[in-house]
């Protein structure tokens, strides 16, 4: 006999839990499934990953840096990949986290730019628009419990205005003059903050490059999943 009234009338799996003895959280879900549903997988953990991305605002624009490594767990698998991607003519995005999800995002943004171009309405997508679009997508995926496992920095200059913002696998957004994802947030951010905060309108390009180089060096010392090959993009 099933002693739990909340089980009466509900689909029951006699093979696994005939008498409803499992706690509610562990009760097998016995609703009928279709064959297609069985094939759907949700991202549970990132597999091929990129590590930190750093970005700062300086006098003439925004500078971003990331190394060229995609790790497969503790294996340094792909040592020459691009984690910084220009989008349209005003923006660059850099992503850490799962690289397959990043490739999907790249394809999505390519489609977006093509649509915008073919609309021919005199407007172009700037960094603020790209960032907003990504934030909506990331949050929507998180709400469906199937996140794109990335931490993305969006930076660029449009109409003379600098833009730098962060989007997360949870849809968290954040904007500041210095940003870092992953290990960079713990190790590089203190260095970036002391070097840049207050001086965003004074730093020249060479100084900004030096700051990012120094931070990437320290990250190579202390991040076990980093590489000494780095790419830097300036806007």
């Amino acid at each position: 006999m099933d002693h739990f009234p909340t089980n009466w009338g509900r689909p029951r799996n006699d093979a696994v839990d005939a008498y409803g003895t499992y706690p509610i959280a562990q009760r097998p879900n016995n609703t009928p499934k279709d064959a297609f549903q069985a094939g759907i997988q949700h991202t549970q953990q990132p597999i091929v990953t990129g590590t930190s991305v750093l970005a700062i605002k300086f006098k003439d624009g925004v500078m971003m840096a990331a190394d060229n490594l995609a790790s497969y767990g503790s294996l340094a698998r792909f040592k020459d990949i691009q984690r910084l991607q220009p989008v349209g003519s005003h923006t660059v995005i850099g992503a850490g986290g799962d690289m397959s999800d990043f490739q999907y995002i790249q394809a999505m943004l390519d489609d977006l730019i093509v649509d915008e171009f073919s609309a021919q309405d005199g407007h172009t997508l700037g960094p603020a628009e790209i960032h907003n679009y990504l934030a909506q997508v990331m949050y929507a995926r998180r709400s469906k419990m199937n996140p794109l496992w990335n931490a993305i920095l969006v930076g660029g200059v449009k109409d003379g205005k600098r833009f730098l913002s962060f989007v997360d696998l949870l849809g968290t957004t954040y904007s500041a003059s210095t940003l870092a994802t992953g290990y960079g947030a713990h190790i590089a951010q203190p260095l970036l903050r002391t070097a840049v905060e207050g001086k965003e309108d004074i730093l020249t390009e060479e100084e900004a490059l030096k700051i990012l180089e120094q931070s990437m060096k320290v990250l190579y010392y202390r991040d076990a999943r980093s590489l000494d090959k780095v790419r830097c993009r300036r806007f």
Binding site: I187, L191, R193
Partner: protein, 271 residues
């Protein structure tokens, strides 16, 4: 009737029960290297140790100005991160043992002795004593700087950081440390490292303590920098007399009637 005898030291008899419960799904909370930034740095003449001064109880600041640089001997000091009671009592115990050892050997105590005592004790407790220490000092063999983890592993390095703010502090060290620095440069570097921890880590805060140990002297710089002073309040919040009106007043003496009776006729005999 259950025996009332309890042996000294830790009692591990609940381990079986804890493992059983953990298998069912309820895990023990992990003791972590909690809110602190402590650093140590080797320079030309000796060692500079640094620490912040915030003690936290979960998300609450328990002590805004605690001392994390503990005394081991005259020429050896130890910064402690992790459970405050563990660091406090462990360093006190090793300090007294070092004093006895020095008296027994007749020599100035050495840093490696303190390190060995600490690591052997921490390993014996298998990590349950949550003390993550930065031990530094100058002895007859020169300046030495060690880091000791709660499970008993040690590292001998020219610059070390421990605690939740260790990544921020280590970033500063990795950018700025050189061999054979001058005293002023070393102190500035340590202050910068602790500041990085204070301003970028939520577990660290308040003021900076430093301790400079050389062959000739040990200088304890308590609150060498106070970057988080409370601002003076803009107003005074006192109330002037008469703010609260009163309707009636009644004053009574607590002493109603006082009588002094001498119980002893002569004075006290104080011979």
């Amino acid at each position: 009737m259950a025996s009332t005898f309890s042996s000294t030291g830790f009692n591990f008899s609940n381990e079986l029960r804890n493992n059983f419960i953990a298998d069912k799904g309820l895990h023990l909370p992990k003791a972590t290297s909690t809110g602190t930034t402590i650093v140590g740095c080797l320079f030309k003449d000796g060692i500079v140790l640094g620490a912040d001064t915030r003690a936290t109880e979960g998300p609450i600041v328990a002590d805004k100005n605690c001392e994390k640089i503990h005394y081991i001997t005259e020429n050896i000091r130890c910064c402690g991160a992790g459970t405050a009671a563990d660091t406090e009592f462990t360093t006190a115990l090793i300090s007294s043992n070092m004093e006895l050892h020095a008296l027994s050997t007749g020599r100035q105590p050495r840093v490696v002795t303190a390190m060995t005592m600490l690591k052997q004790m921490l390993f014996r407790y298998q990590g349950h004593v949550g003390a993550a220490l930065v031990l530094g000092g100058v002895d007859a063999t020169g300046p030495h700087l060690f880091t000791i983890h709660p499970h008993g592993s040690t590292d001998k390095l020219p610059y070390v950081t421990m605690g939740s703010g260790s990544l921020a502090a280590m970033a500063v060290f990795e950018s700025g440390w050189r061999a054979n620095m001058e005293r002023a440069d070393a102190l500035a570097l340590v202050k910068a490292a602790i500041s990085a921890g204070i301003f970028n880590d939520l577990g660290s805060g308040s003021n900076i303590d430093a301790c400079i140990i050389t062959a000739s002297s040990t200088e304890m710089l308590r609150n060498v920098e106070m970057p988080n002073m409370r601002v003076q309040k803009e107003r005074t919040y006192g109330f002037r007399r008469g703010t609260t009106a009163w309707k009636s007043e009644s004053i009574r003496d607590l002493v109603i009637d006082e009588q002094v009776t001498h119980l002893v006729s002569e004075a006290m005999d104080t011979t």
